[in-house]
């Protein structure tokens, strides 16, 4: 599972590489378009992260060459420009996602994981579990330590998302987008309130807390040893 990052800004490239490596991905970094294209065509990558503005060949040209070579590797674009035509152009050429700078690393990580998961066959699980938490997707029931928990439809959707992506830090924007279909940055604390209410039902009565806040990044559902 190797990722290729093509980014000419040394600092940005370094930080991205460090962040993705620490998140458990093997990464390669190219600082210009030519090297990037060469690596993309010769190496076996699970995902390409391309800056649009690059010396040599720009991100679009790399994407074009990669698609012409018959590679279906998913491509995530990073750009400092947010013009509609850029976005359309990128998507027409076969880009899979698009992030505009400034973006939060947690957002990038969540998108990377979504793209990597896209290829995999959808999970056929009818129940999701973590520790003593069980979510029955067919009967729409949640249980903790054998005890039934009443959840609203949105709380159920939120818990399902957290369980499906357990161990991943989910930024608030991703939660808003996946659970409520609100696809814009907003500075409300709607998600905080929703998480607080879910915690009240899932975690409060138990010593072993499952929902954790990662300050400044988002929320994660995982079992932690004290």
């Amino acid at each position: 599972m190797k990722l290729l990052i093509v980014e000419d800004q040394a600092k940005t490239g370094h930080y991205l590489r460090q962040g993705l490596s620490e998140a458990g991905f093997a990464t390669e970094l190219a600082a210009d378009g030519e090297t990037g294209l060469h690596l993309a065509l010769t190496g076996d990558h699970a995902l390409l992260i391309l800056d649009v503005m690059l010396p040599g060949r720009d991100g679009w040209q790399i994407l074009q060459a990669v698609r012409q070579a018959g590679l279906e590797t998913p491509v995530l674009f990073l750009t400092a420009r947010d013009a509609v035509e850029d976005r359309v152009h990128g998507l027409e050429l076969g880009a899979d996602d698009y992030l505009v700078k400034p973006f939060a690393f947690s957002e990038l990580l969540a998108r990377v994981r979504s793209l990597l998961r896209r290829g995999a066959s959808p999970s056929l699980d009818t129940t999701l579990t973590l520790a003593d938490l069980r979510l029955d997707l067919i009967r729409r029931r949640a249980e903790r330590a054998g005890q039934r928990i009443d959840l609203t439809a949105k709380e159920f959707a939120l818990l399902e998302l957290l369980l499906r992506r357990q161990g991943e830090v989910l930024p608030k924007s991703l939660i808003a987008s996946q659970v409520w279909d609100m696809n814009f940055d907003s500075d409300t604390n709607v998600i905080e309130v929703a998480i607080r209410r879910l915690r009240l039902k899932i975690d409060d009565a138990h010593r072993n807390k499952l929902i954790h806040t990662v300050r400044g990044m988002g929320y994660v559902l995982e079992e932690r040893q004290d």
Partner: protein
Amino acid sequence: MRRLSLGSRLALLFAACTAAVSLTAGLLFSHASKHHFVELDQQLLGARLSQLRSQLAGVDSADKLAARLPALRGELSHQADLALRIRGAEGELWFQSRPGLPEDAVQPGLATLRADSVDYRSLSVPLDEHAEHAAQLTLFLDITHHQHFLQGMQRLIWLTVGLSALATALLGAWAARRGLRPLRQIGEVAASVSAHSLTTRLPVAQMPEELAQLASTVNAMLQRLDDAFQRLSAFSADIAHELRTPLSNLLTHTQVTLTRPRSLEEYREALHGNLEELQWMAQLVNDMLYLAKADHGLLMPNRQPLELAAEVDALLDYYAALAEESDVQLLREGAATIEGDRHMLRRALSNLLDNALRFTPQGGTIKVSLTAGLSITVANTGPAIEAGALQRLFDRFYRADPARREGSSEHAGLGLAITRSIVQAHGGGIRAECEGGWTRFVINLPG
């Protein structure tokens, strides 16, 4: 090819008009004079002929005429410009007072003839009115002086036409130049406009009626440019100001943290503090870029048919928990459909709801009303906002409560400006009003 100047065009038109008028007048006058001369000649010839006829009464052959010739010659000698020819009933020449006269006219009566470059008017009558075949008297009047007069007059007419056309062309050019001075004035003002002098205005009161509208249009344009420019300047200043606080926090905080060794926990705290500032700044920059895109007309709604009731319900569902926490009731009434961009409209309404939630006191109500016509009203109970502030709510970085401005990490004051941009990108308008304990934001959209 360069088009003729307005002044030259007007001058030429003036000249052409004057020439046409004076030419017509001249031709009419000339024609009338000619006609007048013909009448005069006819009278003269008629009078002389009847005199001659009575003098020659009883003459029915050349011999009888011969007897009367001396008296006739005496009679004719008094008038040098008159000449007489008498022909017998068969057309044979009986008498001719002088040689070189033109042939008789084909038709009897008055005729204008020419011989040896002398013009004559001739009138023919029978000598005896009552006889079947009578001798024919033809009297010739030399009209050369008339013709000279008429020719002179025609020359005069052409001269008048030419001179008056020239004079009006020159006068017209001068008049047009004077008349077009306000236009030049507009040009001068337009040329003097720059980013630093957008306050220049045209004196509409001094403009002629035809140009007053143009002048006030230009003034209105200058006013709009001035407003937009002022807003833009203020916007840049605001951006700098808004970024200054978090930047200075970051600088201070980072430097203070680095001044001496600290525990791991303290470093982590410092980074978290910085992260909050940075996220706030990133949000601010993204919002500003969004607004900049709107300003450049690049906010293009991806239109699709939408049930607004469903969209509003989804938003109320999104905010339900938050509203419940602060004991605020969320309501929706009415329904409407629209061709609009789902994400953009959700964002616009979300900002309004977010704003309403901030200002609705505990136990209050937020009501979203939809009318098919088409309007969306987001109303909330709460303290009245003064009229001056209502106007400014949609301004960037404006906050009704100045105390919230500094150090508020959560709200940059761009939400309502973004809402307005989105509404405008959909061809609609938004206004805020305050009445009877309710604050209302009313969006009107083309249906």
